[in-house]
């Protein structure tokens, strides 16, 4: 079954305490892996797309990496404003015609305390 699974479900960090979020997938023929950030009461906001194993992308304190089975979102020296739910998603393997049906994980709720 094509699935995207995120762990942990929730993570509490002290400001400056680096950590990683995990996204594992069993989607066959992976065509991309997306990371989104979602703040309470808002829609998901795009962060990164990774296309191949070994690829890395960075944005401020965030770095996303991809292997053949999972992706990590590394958060270096987080600040309270990094508190949010982080979602990962993969395109459905039956993607045709140029549209992009995504399979989302349930997300990791990150809380960074001062």
């Amino acid at each position: 079954e094509d699935q995207v699974t995120q762990s942990p479900e929730a993570l509490r960090l002290q400001e400056g305490e680096s950590s990683s979020l995990n996204c594992s997938y069993t989607v066959s023929g992976l065509r991309g892996l997306f990371w989104y950030r979602q703040d309470p009461g808002k829609g998901p906001e795009f962060l990164f797309t990774l296309y191949s194993a070994g690829e890395e992308k960075e944005k401020e304190r965030l770095k996303a990496t991809l292997t053949k089975k999972e992706s990590f979102l590394h958060i270096t020296a987080p600040k309270p404003e990094d508190s949010a739910t982080y979602l990962c998603a993969a395109p459905h393997p039956l993607r045709t015609g140029g549209y992009n049906k995504l399979i989302f994980g349930a997300g990791t709720r990150l809380a960074v305390h001062p």
Partner: protein, 113 residues
């Protein structure tokens, strides 16, 4: 900001009543999507559209219908709302050309009593 708006932002309705949620985008994106988000389930696709008047079902389409008469508007209708349809609904759009990411609206919180 992909310029996606949703209306209404909040709605409370009674079981058995019809409800229509509207998504409007100003980016001329070809593809549009409706998702629902529930605790522990993440985002689940309800219906999507790959062009004007072209729509198809997602993984949780039972009890929902959609219509797209213009590129910029994608409507989601609950013909007879049930309590299980209490959720937060997100619309998204996707240009389908050089970019791969979907852009999301702010969401509609629907409560069915």
């Amino acid at each position: 900001d992909a310029g996606i708006t949703q209306s209404p932002r909040h709605k409370v309705t009674e079981t058995g009543t019809p409800v229509t949620l509207r998504c409007h985008q100003t980016e001329n994106h070809r593809y549009m999507y409706w998702y629902r988000q529930d605790p522990g389930h993440g985002l689940r696709l309800i219906h999507y559209s790959y062009g004007v008047k072209d729509t198809d079902k997602g993984e949780v389409s039972d009890g929902y219908s959609v219509s797209r008469s213009k590129t910029e508007d994608f409507l989601l209708t609950l013909e007879s709302a049930t309590s299980s349809q209490t959720s937060v609904y997100f619309c998204a759009s996707f240009p389908g050309e050089t970019e791969d990411e979907q852009y999301f609206g702010p969401g509609t919180r629907l409560t069915v009593t």
